[in-house]
């Protein structure tokens, strides 16, 4: 070792090696990156890559279509469920609860079926959303009629069966409005009082339960009417010659 070098030989060598190691690893990193970049791939490899990527893409597209259709059907299900709810509410096939009034007519009242119909109509006019007579839901299919019992006494029938007394009419709606509609001077209750000596009692309540109607939702005779479609593409009957068409061979 030369005497004019102050440092032992290991120190400069160590510095050089430190830098060298660093440079080599950086170069290695770069080279690895270069080899992994698409430009340095073989054509066959690139073709394979493109193929697999295409396959992957197709798979994902299929999945997307599937999921979209599922999503739409879910959406459809939601809207159908809502519609079912609305319709069953409308035709009264679900039990309902809400504020309203209860009208009780005692057994000794000479109530006639028309009076009952009048009361129900009045309730409808004043905004009753659901009505039940003796827990029979009044729907568009309900019949209120008259008949005679074994002793030839007039009775009221509801849906063909005898209406028992006392008659309890429940109506869901705004209680005050419903009561007002029945009890105004010259109104139906007034008439019943003065003309027939019927004194119905009216009670407002915050929570009334009205049962579901027993409605046959599967009609036997009626069918949905389909407007006839005028078929323009009907094949001409034999013998008629249509201009612009070749006769069938």
């Amino acid at each position: 070792m030369k005497s004019n070098s102050k440092l032992p030989w290991q120190v400069p060598l160590a510095i050089a090696l430190l830098i060298f190691g660093f440079l080599v690893t950086i170069q290695y990193n770069t080279q690895v990156q270069l080899n992994n970049s698409l430009e340095n791939q073989k054509t066959e490899d690139l073709v394979a890559i493109v193929k697999s990527l295409n396959e992957n893409r197709n798979k994902l597209e299929n999945e997307l279509a599937e999921l979209t259709s599922t999503y739409q059907s879910l959406d459809l299900k939601d809207s159908l469920e809502k519609q079912i709810e609305q319709l069953s509410n409308f035709i009264g096939t679900v039990p309902v609860i809400g504020p309203g009034i209860t009208i009780t007519i005692t057994a000794d009242s000479p109530l006639m079926n028309v009076d009952l119909v009048d009361i129900i109509n009045e309730l409808r006019v004043t905004g009753a959303e659901a009505i039940a007579v003796n827990d029979v839901r009044i729907t568009s299919y309900t019949s209120i009629g008259e008949g005679v019992d074994a002793n030839n006494n007039a009775i009221i029938t509801i849906n063909g069966s005898r209406l028992l007394t006392p008659v309890v009419i429940k109506a869901i709606g705004k209680p005050a409005t419903l009561q007002e509609g029945l009890t105004f001077p010259g109104g139906i209750i007034d008439n019943l009082n003065t003309l027939y000596n019927i004194y119905p009692t009216i009670k407002q309540s915050e929570k009334l339960t009205i049962p579901a109607a027993n409605v046959n939702t599967d009609p036997i005779y009626k069918k949905k009417y389909e407007a006839p479609v005028i078929d323009n593409t009907a094949t001409p009957s034999p013998g008629t010659n249509v201009i612009g068409q070749h006769p069938a061979i």
Partner: protein, 135 residues
Amino acid sequence: MKLKLIWMPLVCLILGALIGSILTFSVPVLYAKYLSIAVLAALDSLLGGIRAILEHSFDGTIMLSGFFTNALLAAALAFLGDQIGVDLYLAAVFAFGLRLFNNLGYIRRYIVNNIRKNRIAKKQLKKQGLNDEIQ
């Protein structure tokens, strides 16, 4: 102290490699070529330094300055060659490669000679020992 210093270059080499791999830093693809030629030049300088150590003519300053200037100049020359459309890159690879193998050859020869010399010396020592015993 001496024993510790012997391991210092090796430790530093590993340390440098570690730093490089921890940083995962990579040169832009455009300059990868220049870095590779710089690495080649640096390797040549290192082997030259080791040869000088074996020849007992090592000078730290000369080695380090050669290390840096060779690396930088090699990269710069390769860059210049690219600018003027001459493959100076190849010339640098050729020159440094040649020197590298020369240095390697010298180091190899030195090590082989050294081992041989040691073995002969040992044999002679043994012989002497035997002679001493006999006598």
